[in-house]
Symmetry: C2
Subunit: 266 residues, 2 copies
Amino acid sequence: MSPDSPIGVFDSGIGGLTVLKEIKARLPHENIIYFGDTARVPYGIKSGETVTRFSREISEYLVGQGVKMLVVACNTASSVALPTLRDNYPLPVIGVLMPGAYAAARATKSERVGVIGTEGTVNSGAYARLIRNIRSGTMVFAHACPLFVPLVEEGRLSGPITRLAAEEYLAPLMLEDIDTLVLGCTHYPLLKETIAGVMGPEVELIDSAFETAREVERVLDKLDMLNKSGAPGNTRYAVSDAPERFKRIGERFLGYEVPEVEKVEL
Amino acid sequence: MSPDSPIGVFDSGIGGLTVLKEIKARLPHENIIYFGDTARVPYGIKSGETVTRFSREISEYLVGQGVKMLVVACNTASSVALPTLRDNYPLPVIGVLMPGAYAAARATKSERVGVIGTEGTVNSGAYARLIRNIRSGTMVFAHACPLFVPLVEEGRLSGPITRLAAEEYLAPLMLEDIDTLVLGCTHYPLLKETIAGVMGPEVELIDSAFETAREVERVLDKLDMLNKSGAPGNTRYAVSDAPERFKRIGERFLGYEVPEVEKVEL
């Protein structure tokens, strides 16, 4: 393992590409392997035990590819599987929750924070625990938005159905008078405009993808493991199923072409 | 294997319960084992190869439980995995497509039939092939409705979001002037009222769950394998993950209590 080794980034499917995009933008010299578990996507409705098992299988694969760091670019997996992964691999393991939780705790003035995510993330209560650990007086209101992921995957980033769903899901959080809202699912940054339109300009949106990329840089720098070759980094994409669908929808997430996608059976 | 042996019914998750319900209503003396692959749900966005592999693993389990028949209560799996299952098990294997296709071919007067389903089912083109094999002059128009499954699973069987989604998805089929519409996904019978409201009374809706139960009876009767004990049949439920969620949402599908759900790792 050396600074030239790739960073391993994984998600249940496509959503983690929002995190990949931020890492690539911030650290253009890093080599990266992205794995999307498209044979078993989504994780948000599955048990912690099962999601932890899936996350271990993927990490096994990425560690076998010689990665220097694991980035769990999936809120559901981050909320349940991090301790197991940290116990099993002698590598830095970065999840998407902690960076988002820190940013929210820093941002809130009223100490009233909202969190939106999948059923799995919301039911785990992980964000509320983390935010209150950082800033103990904070009230955290979490709400699951099950339609947001299929809406994004269908490319409905705006329009009447998406707007209506956002209004319904966000109404209880508006009533709680929050001043900060964590986008607690990697798909949600794509709905940022619609969500901001409903919440209004007084509510700050926390994009965990952006915050996670910052954390990746901070940790690699501290360990003196940043790739300083100066050459443009190389990104490899692997999925457990349906590479063409990943490529097609993934390009919408990244805003640029996904060159080649390898299918890997775990 | 005897007439007392159970019928094995499986689906990617919860949707197949609409088929189970119809089988139980029609054949109350049958013993049944229902398996929902909730660790890997949904199948609709996954490749034929992967869905076939999953279907074989489940069939292996059900055959190990001594079932006398396999009912593939999932449109996606029925559209890709039936030949493999029929080749591998010396049992009658019933899918949900053929019964729905026959009913549609019988029902249409204008020979213009619509089909709605998941991406996987629609992309397979299986319904169109089957319907045209039965009634060759028929025009078949298929359209994927990716939001319908999450809408049903969230319990949004009616209301403005569901209505709006139905209007959008069904508009191209209305333009084709169909007189028959196949509900080509096991979740969709729960949206029957909303779909009928959009399509109007001139369009006949084909419920594959109902048609499949008829086919199960016909085949068992022909093989002299109907359970004639006269005692009420017993139903067992098994899933690959999250039994509580299955129980909670499953009761909405069945309209009655799901007693106990076993978790089985495949």
